[in-house]
Amino acid sequence: MINKRTSKALGLIALFAFLIVLPFTLKFHQQDFLIFLIINILVVVSYRLMTLTGEWSLIHVVLMGVGAYSSALLAKKLGLSFWLTMPLSGIICTLVAFLFSFPLFRMKQFYFLIGSFAAGEAIRLSWVYFKVPFGGPKGLRYIPSPKFTFPGLKEAIEIWEPIPYYFLTLTVVTLCLWILYRLENSRIGLTLHSIHWRDVLAESVGINIWRYKTLAFGVASFFVGIAGALLAHYLGTINPNQFAVGIMVYVLIWVIVGGTATFAGPIIGVTVLSIVNEWFRAFEIWRPLIYGCILIISIMFLPEGLESLPSKLRGVINRLLGKEEIEVNVPERMEKEEEVF
């Protein structure tokens, strides 16, 4: 009899085995796609942390850019190694987020949306306007690749080819997701969920909503900054257009279609939609149309997101078998003594 915990662990091992073997079976541009997908997974999972406290900001992708530019500039101008610039760029992002949280959190809902968009554009346009140090509209080039060295090695190994960089990205993102997952299932996660479901009730038992919004914003920004750094050092060049509002809309779509109730929701969203997007590459002009249709259909029939699909299917199967069950989509639970990791 395999219990839940063992099957979860086995599932993860299988997933990782698959992910380790995968790039060797793919073509060059597909390996590229895979790297971007893993980076985007970190972007959406970090974004979801903010949506838990009710903040749907439009500044998230720009903060990714802040991470990208920070890491790139620290590496180019100060000659710091990637292993230093990556976490530093995360910290810089958190500081920028804190700075903006003071004016932004005074705005309610719709105004917060507009305000975060304005703040994001202000940052992005400063990259466009200031050739020094941001490189203006053309952006930054010749961003150094991560170097890997250990004693006894004559020359450091540069990580720039897809497969090595893929494993670097996979390792970093897995670590980040593990931290986010642990946070989700901690006391703080429970508090964030309580704010998500009924913030007024949460307040009445002493939960300071502002403090937790700031916490979520800061943590989310840290990780999206790291995602930005990973992007910058792979592409070797970044420009302001890569962090424009169009990309932010994609992030919103991935998160909404995937669903925000569970940890896996946004991951499912970004993976499914990115793969669909790739498949229809051949259909060029029809692509936006097909993409849009899938979006509309999924919102119509699965308004709770793709993550609700398993429980919906279970409901259908139960009904077919004649069982009467009241099944409610239940988010991941805080495991009291049990821990997955």
């Binding site: 901690s186 703080i188 508090t191 479901w197 009924r198 007024v200 009445s204 002493g206 409610v328 988010p331």
Partner: protein, 250 residues
């Protein structure tokens, strides 16, 4: 010194005066009732006391401290907790988790302890406390049920349980008997008495006269934002102004 002093509270919503210069005080250990026709301003009063609204004029003094300008979570930290009119629960959580959230003030975690789980002792204490509160409110059997699947009586008991988990000194109960049948009302009355006996001061807003008259030693009557009368249930029942307020001019 009274536990709670309400001094000259006035609240306007645009041109509408919801509360007009209301003053009263509540001593520790009391079970005070606040009644009045619909729209009298009872819930507005609660929201102001608990920090969800700011009054236009006046002060709220709790345990000698002016808390008028403090927000809801700060007020809760000081032991002043309110329940809500419509059944407000974390519907998607289990009964156990609902109360667990209520224990927030004891279980507080920062990023470090959340990631590295270094506060195991504190979290164990919280688990114990949660079980105690569930036991007190008679919800232990239902602890793994989802809140939205509970019958009405249990949902209301859960709402009180969540508030109790926050260890209030002063509890504001907002129409806990609404929609209950006589049997549920009876059980709820017992629970409210139990809470008072455990040392919590209670202000009860309610329409159900049987519950109010049966529980409260002292009543306040509000109508159109004015405090009409204060007194024992017997005095209130025979007060002409109160009768007029409920039944219209005789």
């Amino acid at each position: 010194m009274a536990l709670l002093e309400v001094k000259g509270i006035t609240k306007r919503f645009g041109g509408l005066v919801a509360l007009n210069d209301i003053s009263f005080s509540v001593e520790e250990g009391e079970l005070r009732g606040l009644i009045g026709p619909n729209g009298a301003g009872k819930s507005v009063m609660f929201k102001i006391i608990a920090g969800f609204y700011r009054p236009n004029q006046g002060q709220i003094v709790y345990q000698g401290e002016d808390i008028t300008s403090q927000g809801a979570s700060a007020v809760a930290e000081r032991g002043l907790v309110r329940t809500f009119q419509e059944t407000t629960l974390f519907q998607e959580f289990t009964v156990y988790e609902n109360v667990l959230v209520g224990c927030h003030l004891h279980a507080r975690s920062n990023l470090f302890t959340a990631l590295f789980r270094t506060d195991k002792d504190r979290q164990k204490a919280v688990v114990t406390k949660t079980s105690e509160v569930l036991e007190f409110m008679g919800l232990t059997d239902r602890k793994d049920q989802l809140a939205l699947n509970l019958p009405l009586g249990s949902q209301r008991a859960l709402a009180v349980a969540i508030a109790l988990a926050a260890e209030p000194k002063l509890l504001l109960l907002d129409e806990p008997f609404a929609g209950m049948n006589p049997e549920e009302t009876f059980q709820m009355m017992d629970l409210v008495r139990k809470v008072q006996e455990s040392g919590v001061t209670i202000i009860l807003v309610e329409h159900d006269m049987k519950a109010v008259m049966g529980l409260c030693e002292k009543l306040m009557v509000l109508n159109f934002g004015q405090l009409l009368a204060t007194g024992s249930p017997k005095e209130i029942r025979s007060n002409n102004r109160v009768i007029e307020a409920y039944l219209g001019s005789v």
